[in-house]
């Protein structure tokens, strides 16, 4: 029993957040408009998570900012306010202004690997993604659906995902992530805007991956 629990714990904590968030970014960019350097994508999300064994659905919502070459800001507003920031250097979680989690890319190299996938997708290069997933798309540019399945189901990390289903039109509308343990989540994206104005203020500061002096 212990073993069954322990393993996902270890793997998930280092990899899963990155995997999930990266697939979101990937979806946004590979299927939607490709961003040029200096452009940013702002939008809102609604996420519903179904955990096996929990009676109610865990629903959260908030906004996000994606900047090529810099990273992703995932700002949850409901049920609590938290900030998750992924940069090539680290994953950080900030609650009420204090950093409650900091995973250094140097210590957890998956971050760099998945960041490569993210950046690859920004410039329309699918090869990094195809290294880990089988990518199948159906439909046309107005309404499409892409299914990602792990290339190596035995892989202790990618194998935790059953599938990632991304659908949309001009933009990505939703992402469904199904895990092998029966849990699933649905993310819907709204009010997406591509902006040519560089990030300023807090957003620029959060994505500044240079070490603080």
């Amino acid at each position: 029993m212990t073993r069954r629990i322990a393993w996902p714990v270890v793997a998930i904590v280092t990899v899963f957040p990155i995997l999930t968030l990266t697939s979101v970014c990937f979806a946004e960019l590979a299927m939607g408009p490709t961003l040029a350097a200096g452009q940013t994508l702002h939008g809102r999300f609604v996420e519903e998570r179904h955990l096996k064994g929990l009676s109610s659905t865990l629903k959260s919502e908030g906004s996000f900012v994606l900047a090529p070459g810099k990273g992703l800001i995932w700002r949850m507003e409901q049920p609590i306010q938290t900030l998750t920031v992924i940069t090539p250097a680290a994953i950080r979680q900030i609650i009420n202004g204090s950093e409650v989690q900091h995973i250094d890319a140097a210590r957890v190299p998956f971050i760099a690997h998945f960041y490569d996938m993210l950046n690859g997708s920004l410039i329309g290069d699918w090869s990094a993604m195809r290294h880990d997933f089988v990518v199948k798309s159906t439909g046309d540019r107005q309404a499409w659906r892409t299914v990602l399945t792990p290339l190596q189901p035995d892989d202790p990390i990618a194998g935790m995902l059953a599938s990632i289903v991304i659908s949309g039109g001009k933009m990505v509308d939703s992402v469904d992530i199904n895990r092998t343990n029966g849990d699933s989540e649905h993310m819907a994206f709204l009010d997406q805007k591509v902006s040519n104005v560089p990030l300023v203020g807090e957003e620029a500061r959060l994505l500044d991956s240079r070490p603080a002096s």
Partner: protein, 771 residues
């Protein structure tokens, strides 16, 4: 004379028998540098621990195999791993890691989760900021970085174990398992890691040769099919092998040049080789006596004392050459008469040199004691051989062919004596003075043993590349934790941890590794459980579960299993490397090791070690560095002391003014040598100081020879001095070409010092010009 010669023969024979008996019993040459430390500074207990840890560290090799093609890198790694396994020279080869190794890690920790807090979480709870942990858990459960299912939420509601696991300082964290092999990517290149533990003595020449040739053969074979394959290596065996190889090649080259040069020189001057044999005989008898006496006094001898001792005995060549040069000229007389001509000079030379060597006894260092006894006994043995045996072995008639050679040799004398060279003389003195003063401003001391060795630069590049790609570095420094009980050892490490972490942030060290970073002490686990129970579970659990609608109650009592101890680390655990850090754990006490890497400020680490009871800083390289510094200071002081001790003998013979004249050339040589070599960027080390001991003796010899020489025999005396200088340069001066810095510094100092002693030797006499 005959009786004395026979008696000396008996003494030498006795020494020979004694030495043979000793050799038969087996002579252990000491090679450990710390054996040279003063006895009171030695710590046998720490020493054995140090030997064990450095042994383990030295036996480890890290190999990175890289290629643009991932499959090539992997094929290369697998082939090399197999070759090493099959070689019979490895105790363990780690290439493929268990796919479920992380899983086993999780399984080991999970039952003890409520006693395992990260430093940051512990601080949060201590400061009553448990709400931050709760919020973090809620964010994790809701957010895209979900890590929980219902089962986990019941067992570890606040997701403490994932937090703990991500914060473990895993040693090769920059590498990720890729299909069972630890790998990393750098640009287009894929690198795979291979770690091997040798099963033999990596400092043994035979073992090195077997291992390196097997390794190179495999690499060569792999390159034949995969030409772009790169193999990076780091490990003591590679450095030791490269060092031994280049030292052997260099020694062979230098010895051949030195030997040929000496033979040619003797042949040109004497048109016979007999003087060479006579000289070698005198030195050989000296070394024999020295060895026998040293073994019976000290029971053994340190290899460093032996090497320097043989060099110091080598000075007896000066006396021998004085004797054989006395054979020049029709008026040279019979061998006995020749000896009598040079006897005052060489006796005084030996006397001053003996005083110089014996002065080394004044320092409280075993190494210098051995050196003093070895060189003094050897010198005396050589001297007696020259005085008692050479006249009997040398049956030659006076040499008549050397008019030109003698005239040339006498030019140095004329340079100092003749009025026409007056300006040149002052010019030379001014030049030496100016260069010495300029050099003195550039003189730098350097005792760092790491600078004294020549580490192969290609291996150093590979090491830094491996460090960049993997974070692995081959440090040899560590802290030794020694306390009565096991948990005490972990608690001590915890006390060190916070201090070392801030030292790491300050840049005093690059990193450290201790067991307590992975397995907290029972005391800490107990304390953490209390914190989790009182400051997290009690105040927050109920509302937290309600919020997440977790039903079925919590299995979250905080007092389930026992405590995690280092025993839980199994052989095939990814943490099995930690077992090397436990040196002893039994009724007699516990001894742990905390490895340190990239120490830039050793003093800070020493202070940390002193602040925590039961901890000692062990820095093998630093110990040797301190030792070299101490020896350098002592040797430098002893040079001055020995000059003072030599003076009474000289004053007795030459009066005050004469003795000061005799002391002038060696003083100039000793004072000028170090600043002059500093002009060429050579720093002052213990090895320079040893060279100066030799320069001082050489300087007094030349000066005394010049002073004692009758005007009629002056050309022969000067020839002896010339030859002494040239043979010294050929044997020791050539060492300036060595790529080992210590040897280079020794050679450079000796080269310049000997030339100075030679050039100024005539001013020891009362020259006509009033010099």
């Amino acid at each position: 004379m005959k009786i004395a010669a026979l008696a000396w023969g008996l003494v030498v024979a006795a020494a020979c028998v004694m030495l043979l008996l000793q050799l038969h019993k087996g002579v252990k040459l000491q090679t450990d540098m710390t054996a040279l430390l003063p006895t009171e500074e030695r710590d046998t207990f720490g020493q054995s621990a140090k030997d064990r840890v450095t042994g383990i560290l030295a036996q480890r090799v890290f190999i990175l195999i890289g290629d643009d093609d991932r499959s090539n890198a992997r094929a290369g790694g697998a082939a090399l791993a197999k070759a090493l396994e099959d070689s019979g020279m490895t105790a363990a080869v780690t290439y493929r890691i268990r796919q479920d190794s992380l899983k086993s890690l999780g399984a080991m920790y999970f039952p003890y989760r409520f006693g395992l807090l990260t430093a940051a979480d512990r601080e949060r709870l201590q400061q009553n900021h448990g709400a931050q942990i709760v919020d973090r858990a809620i964010a994790s459960v809701y957010g895209p970085s979900s890590i929980a299912d219902a089962n986990l939420l019941q067992r570890d509601p606040f997701l403490l174990i994932p937090e703990f696991l991500t914060n473990l300082p895993m040693p090769v964290a920059q590498l990720t398992p890729d299909d069972g092999v630890l790998s990393t990517r750098d640009g287009n290149q894929t690198w795979v890691l291979l770690v091997a533990q040798m099963n033999g003595n990596v400092y043994s020449g035979a073992f090195q040769e077997r291992f390196i040739s097997a390794f190179n053969a495999t690499e060569h074979k792999l390159r034949a099919t995969m030409p772009h394959l790169q193999v990076l290596r780091v490990g003591a065996i590679f450095y030791a092998h490269a060092g031994a190889k280049s030292a052997t090649e260099e020694t062979t080259r230098l010895s051949i040049v030195s030997l040929l040069g000496t033979i040619v020189l003797i042949l040109i001057v004497f048109r016979a080789l007999r003087p060479l044999w006579l000289t070698l005989l005198a030195i050989a008898v000296g070394v024999l006596c020295a060895f026998a006496v040293c073994l019976s006094i000290f029971g053994g001898i340190h290899v460093a004392a032996l090497l320097f001792g043989v060099s110091l005995i080598g000075i007896s060549i000066d006396y021998c050459l004085q004797y054989v040069c006395a054979g020049f000229g029709a008026e040279a007389g019979l061998p006995n008469e020749r000896l009598h001509q040079v006897l005052p000079g060489i006796t005084l030379g030996v006397a001053t040199t003996l005083i110089g060597y014996a002065t080394l006894l004044l320092a409280p260092f075993t190494g210098l004691h051995q050196l003093a006894v070895f060189s003094a006994v050897g010198l005396l043995g050589s001297f007696l051989t020259i005085v008692l045996w050479l006249p009997f072995l040398d049956r030659r008639k006076p040499l008549l062919h050397g008019a030109l050679i003698l005239a040339t040799a006498n030019l140095l004398w004329e340079f100092w004596a003749a009025a026409r060279y007056s300006r040149w003389r002052w010019g030379l003195i001014a030049l030496v003075a100016i260069l010495t003063i300029v050099g003195a401003t550039r003189l730098r001391f350097d005792d760092d043993v790491r600078h004294q060795q020549a580490l192969a630069s290609s291996l150093r590049n590979q090491e830094s590349q491996i460090r960049r790609l993997t974070g692995i570095s081959g440090g040899t420094e560590f802290l030794l934790v020694r306390v009565p009980d096991r948990d005490g050892a972990l608690q001590t490490e915890e006390a060190l941890q916070s201090r070392l972490t801030s030292a790491e942030q300050d840049g005093a060290i690059r990193g450290f590794q201790s067991i307590a970073q992975f397995i907290p002490s029972i005391a800490r686990q107990r304390e953490d459980r209390g914190l989790v129970h009182d400051k997290l579970m009690l105040p927050y659990l109920a509302s937290y579960y309600q919020r997440l609608s977790v039903t079925g109650g919590a299995q979250a009592d905080t007092d389930t299993a026992g405590f995690l101890t280092p025993d839980a680390i199994s052989d095939d655990s990814p943490l099995s490397f930690l077992r090397n850090l436990i040196l002893e754990s039994d009724a007699s006490g516990t001894m742990h090791v905390v490895l340190l890497t990239g120490i830039s400020r050793p003093d800070e680490i020493r202070r940390i070690a002193e602040a925590v009871p039961g901890v000692r800083f062990v820095d093998p390289a630093g110990d040797v560095t301190r030792l070299l510094g101490e020896y350098r200071r002592r040797a430098t002081i002893l040079i001055a002391v020995s000059v003072i001790l030599m003076m009474p003998v000289l004053i007795w013979r030459y009066g005050l003014r004469g003795s000061l004249r005799v002391a002038l050339p060696p003083a100039i040589a000793v004072l000028a040598a170090a600043p002059l070599v500093a002009l060429a960027g050579v720093t002052f080390t213990f090895f320079n100081a040893m060279a100066l001991v030799l320069v001082l003796s050489i300087g007094f010899d030349y000066a005394v020879f010049c002073r004692e020489s009758k005007p009629s025999r002056r050309p022969a005396t000067m020839l002896g001095v010339w030859l002494a200088m040239l043979t010294t340069l050929l044997s020791f001066g050539l060492l300036v070409l060595s790529s080992t810095y210590a040897v280079h510094a020794f050679g450079a100092t000796l080269l310049v010092g000997t030339i100075m002693a030679f050039a100024f030797a005539p001013i020891a006499s009362d020259l006509d010009e009033g010099f």
